[in-house]
Subunit: 717 residues, 2 copies
């Protein structure tokens, strides 16, 4: 049975029930929502997405509102139920790889199957050799085994080379003997490893006859396929509850003399023969491949995640009214005299909080940034595919360093921007934003670790910094520049000597007032110059530190703070470029895209760019791009942009085409019925099952009536 035959396209929301505030907002938009949706998702098959989403939204097993109130054990049980249903759908509809990807987005919750699909399966495909792939990939693809990726240990995460788990080769039996030799070697964190997985890819130090070859990936079964009990020698447990992400059973694993066959070393890049001879195979840089893949995936998601929070904040702010309308006079409204204030209040209606400039400054630049990150995600995805195709087909690895550097920088910057941005949107919801039913708390808490895993901001900034410093070194050594389309080309094109001259002149640079803020070309040059100045400055500091006689580790530490700054600066160069490229692509689109849509995107791109320039104004001064007198005109331009976005804000939010069940928010509903929804949400709360709670009978009554303590307690009848 094919998907399209079962799902007729229906609207999820009864449009008649939409509150007037949102109806009005939608009517006054300058463009058609569906046109912007197409611009956002581009080549994606929107119909397919909608069909698959409906499969989920109409299915009670995927109802996400239980996340608002479920205790952890129930939540895990629910995750198992969703997993079963997920697999049932996969089998029933024989989902393609593309459909499977869409399905993962449609679930809206992190649970063990996602790790199986995004880490275990891709790692197998890239680290196992062809024969091993034939053995294991079909099983994994059909969920006959469920796996995870077990690298991090209690004492080692960022520093992979420091892992302690060992795999000793036993020539006699042609087996590996796996051990976690100490408490601190305990594998810690792998998603699904506690209770769900049957297998994992286990990173362990490969040792042959005492010689240590460092961490290698092993295919390891951890639970019996019949009973699901932990295999002998394997101890598995859950690592406990977390700030979010509690549907996932992140696990710990201890190994004691666990024996696995020689061929369970994943052997695409290194193999060991029966006699225990270790061999490296092919281009070991491709080991980066998996890391680059996961980082690219995170970059692709960062925009969408932030967009969700912005959509909720935008819609709620259009419905939430607080304080007398700005058409009224404030002084009478906030009079000390309550009677007058009351009269004033009754006289006029209140303002939508979306009309307040501060609220706009919180939400709109983040929304604009979500667009920038989303378009950059699409570009990164394409770059990655190109790199892989070249590597596989032509044995050409030239794109690898670029791809590695840019995914590191973007992963570092975008996950942090999203995490902080989601929390800013949450605060903009006022008190109600603290309720799980607001949606953002749950999205925020489960997004947060993305800023940590696969390399945190600092660790990835160091990697980025080193790549960019290498670009400087190449230039200094007179090597030929990277191709024009390279994201590092601008570093090559920068002239540090000219800059030094400019610096000498004191406060050179463009005259205040002369800036055409909304000229993309000016923006590009400003961003590139700021980044270049930071990069060359850091290169200089690094050299100086090395010359001071510091060893390279110490010299590196001397410039880590600078590397964090330049990573952000570099990321914004790329983000800006991808946003601009997208706009250009849409401008030359056939069939042509409505110019109103293009205008909206231009406004958002300007807002994204100028907002972040303003946030780090000092760096642009340092780079002689801006001067003190520019601060006010810049802020004025930003305020002007907020006013331009305002009438289209709700329509822009709608264009992301994220259905209510995925937003999972009483405040961000398409129909704007926020108070009814909050009220309804409390019906789930277990504490509301009785009027008088257990807590009263067991404790509170003795606070109020200490005399009851001795006598007979209040009966519960």
């Amino acid at each position: 049975m094919s998907l399209s035959t079962v799902m007729e396209p229906t609207t999820l929301v009864d449009r008649h029930s939409v509150v007037p505030d949102l109806q009005r907002e939608r009517q006054r938009a300058s463009f058609r929502t569906s046109d912007l949706t197409v611009a956002i998702y581009g080549t994606y098959d929107l119909e397919k997405i909608n069909r698959i989403r409906k499969l989920f939204s109409h299915n009670p097993k995927f109802r996400l509102s239980d996340l608002w109130w479920m205790p952890r054990s129930e939540r895990y049980l629910r995750a198992c139920e969703r997993a079963e249903e997920f697999v049932r759908l996969c089998r029933q509809y024989k989902m393609s790889d593309e459909e499977l990807t869409i399905m993962q987005l449609a679930v809206g919750e992190d649970f063990f199957l996602l790790l199986h699909l995004t880490m275990f399966l891709p790692c197998l495909q890239s680290l196992a050799d062809d024969e091993q792939c034939d053995w294991w990939v079909p099983l994994a693809r059909d969920f006959r085994i469920i796996g995870t990726y077990a690298q991090t240990e209690l004492a080692h995460g960022s520093n992979v080379a420091g892992l302690e788990t060992t795999a000793d080769y036993d020539e006699g039996t042609e087996e590996w003997v796996l051990n976690t030799p100490s408490l601190s070697a305990t594998k810690w964190w792998p998603g699904g490893l506690a209770k769900s997985c049957t297998h994992c890819i286990c990173m362990a130090r490969l040792k042959i006859r005492g010689k240590d070859y460092g961490p290698h990936p092993f295919f390891l079964q951890v639970r019996d396929l019949n009973t699901h009990e932990a295999i002998k020698g394997v101890t598995l447990f859950d690592i406990g509850q977390k700030l979010g992400y509690n549907g996932m059973d992140n696990g710990a694993m201890q190994l004691e003399n666990v024996r696995i066959p020689r061929r369970h070393l994943l052997a695409r890049y290194s193999s060991v023969d029966k006699q225990g001879n270790h061999k490296k195979i092919g281009n070991d840089k491709m080991m980066y491949g998996t890391m680059t893949y996961t980082r690219k995936q995170l970059v692709m998601g960062a925009g969408l995640h932030l967009a969700k929070a912005c959509i909720i904040a935008t819609r709620y702010s259009a419905v939430r009214r607080q304080f007398p309308s700005m058409e009224m006079d404030m002084d009478s409204a906030t009079q000390a005299d309550p009677a007058e204030a009351a009269a004033a209040r009754m006289g006029g209606s209140e303002s939508q909080v979306l009309d307040y400039s501060t609220q706009q400054l919180t939400i709109f630049p983040l929304m604009a940034t979500a667009f920038a990150m989303h378009f950059t995600g699409l570009w990164t995805h394409a770059l990655y595919n190109k790199m892989m195709a070249k590597a596989r087909m032509e044995n050409d690895f030239s794109l690898l360093p670029e791809c590695h550097a840019v995914t590191s920088a973007l992963k570092a910057a975008t996950t942090l921007i999203s995490a902080d941005g989601m929390e800013a949107c949450r605060k903009a919801l006022g008190g109600h934003g603290f309720l799980n039913a607001a949606g953002v708390p749950l999205h925020f808490a489960s997004f947060l670790p993305q800023a940590t895993y696969e390399g945190d901001f600092v660790v990835l900034s160091i990697q980025t910094g080193r790549s960019l410093l290498k670009a400087v070194e190449h230039k200094m050594k007179g090597k030929s520049p990277p191709p024009p389309e390279s994201t590092m080309r601008y570093i090559f094109d920068f002239d540090p000597v000219a800059f030094m001259g400019q610096q000498g002149e004191g406060e050179g640079g463009s005259e205040a007032g002369a800036v055409d803020w909304r000229d993309p070309q000016w923006q590009k040059q400003a961003l590139e110059k700021r980044a270049s100045v930071l990069i060359y400055g850091t290169a200089q500091d690094f050299m100086a530190a090395t010359q001071k006689g510091h060893n390279s580790m110490r010299a590196l530490d001397d410039v880590k703070i600078e590397m964090c700054r330049l990573t952000k600066a570099h990321a914004h160069v790329v983000l800006h470029r991808c946003f601009q490229d997208k706009i250009q692509e849409l401008q030359s689109h056939t069939p042509p895209i409505d110019t109103n849509v293009i205008d909206v995107l231009k406004t958002l791109s300007d807002l994204y760019t100028l907002y972040w320039i303003d946030q780090t104004f000092g760096e642009f001064v340092l780079a002689r791009v801006l001067k003190a007198d520019h601060a006010m005109p810049l802020l004025q331009t930003i305020k002007q942009l907020l006013k331009e976005v305002r009438p289209n804000a709700v329509a822009i939010a709608d264009s992301w085409n994220i259905p209510d069940n995925l937003l999972n928010s009483a405040l961000g509903r398409y129909d704007g019925r926020v108070y009814e929804a909050l009220y309804e949400s409390t019906k789930y709360e277990p504490l509301n099952q009785t009027d008088v709670s257990e807590g009263y009978y067991r404790h509170i009554q003795y606070i109020l009536h200490p005399e009851r303590k001795g006598g007979s307690p209040q009966s519960r009848l």
Copy 2:
């Protein structure tokens, strides 16, 4: 029985079990921890604090580690148990008001009794007239009634004048008739109102013969004192689970014709006689009093809360080791060749992550800021007491506006700094920082709403902005300046005309290199000038907007973004001043304080100040305080300060004297046994009760073995 007789002073931690890393850190500190502790807490009775804390830390009913894993319903039950024990201790030891305050800090969890003590009781004391106080305060003080403060409604929070709940006066029965006339009027959020409280102070629009006098406070019983059932006409329920703070039963309340006696209007500032004549009493500005009180309380706590996260991050970073030591050569350690890397790894030990400059930049400036905020909290407390004393004894309300303005600015700025800072510390813990057992997630999540309730950053910035703009107006009108000790005096002393001149000269201001960064006098002037420039600029913009013919509400909105910026700027003027005043006070202390302690505080003060200047470098450029060339020297000075703090970091953390049970963190333990503690923490997790989970039997087995679905399921034996 007196407290001191039951508690012998013991050390909570077995010092022999401290890991060597922390032992070494403590040995190399330049000062005695206990000396800095005294400087931090000053006039507090440290012995009393320690005695009361021990009452809690030795009491299993106050064990906080259950917060790591307990589901919400159990957690509420546990909160009730703690409440009962809390009250038992109060009764047994006849705790004084001061002891009661210390007890609240020692509980370490938010639950309904805290709201009773910090909102209900103080509000009664300040809003009820003397006779009413005689009726109700003793009952509340002895927990014979438990109350909360019910102001916020589903549709109105920030805008108190917009509340919808009504209290109509019935002359015939001399009663008030209370109603929540619509769904959106439902009281929403009051802590403890769902299941715990018997009473509340209910804000309702006072109406007499149809005339609306605006919101007034009423004393309202909500549950029967015998059965604890909701009173007829009162509907109470829990508003659902939240991002944090789930020990608290925040409640909703609907009222339908609930009748209460005339004298249940809290009558210190307005009363209604039998005939229904409404009368205002005394200085109604004192209505601010309660708001100022609660904001002051929040300011007092902000430093301590941030300190907790910094302590955890500091200690863990001293124990956590990652990557080869900086004494080794990196290039060999991160070689592509795993065997070499392994050899390198084995050759040397790894670095404490506290040695990395980026880690220091994350933690140390926040620790320094915690000191600034803590000292400012103490100062605010004293100011508040002075203001109240003057008002009560001398009928002198002159300090009220200042007190109101400064608590608004400080509450706005410090709660935001703490919330963001706690999350930054959490991220600095790497992956383990995401576990509840890390402690910071729980502290962070329950601290977060402090940035929202009692006025969020924007709403309070508007209030601050208006006060500061008024100061400008006074000056322009030639009124006499406020006294020298006023926090707004510097605004008066600023010469906007001279500044305009300076601006005319282009890029005036001090020459690069001429700055003595560590001179407190320079710092003070820099901070004051930056704030003044923002304030005067905003005043000008506001005037311009008014002159454009905007009504005052619209004109105000035109400058709200600027008001948010100037609020931060003003807060830093006050924070810097309080830190400096404290240092001066300690310098002239008898008996004299160890100069090493003074030096540490000076270093921290410099770090606090320069860090925040660097964060908003652009504003200092705008204010002609700094120029582009200053950016690098500023960063170098900050890096130098990080190096100075480093050897004392752990000792500084220890000086806050926060016991392990309050830190409630497996990572921040005094003894540094972090991996053992993490391992132990998993034993609580309900999922770990069985090896094979319920989820397998009910769902996962059908994923792995779809054929079982039809047949007999795997038995659970």
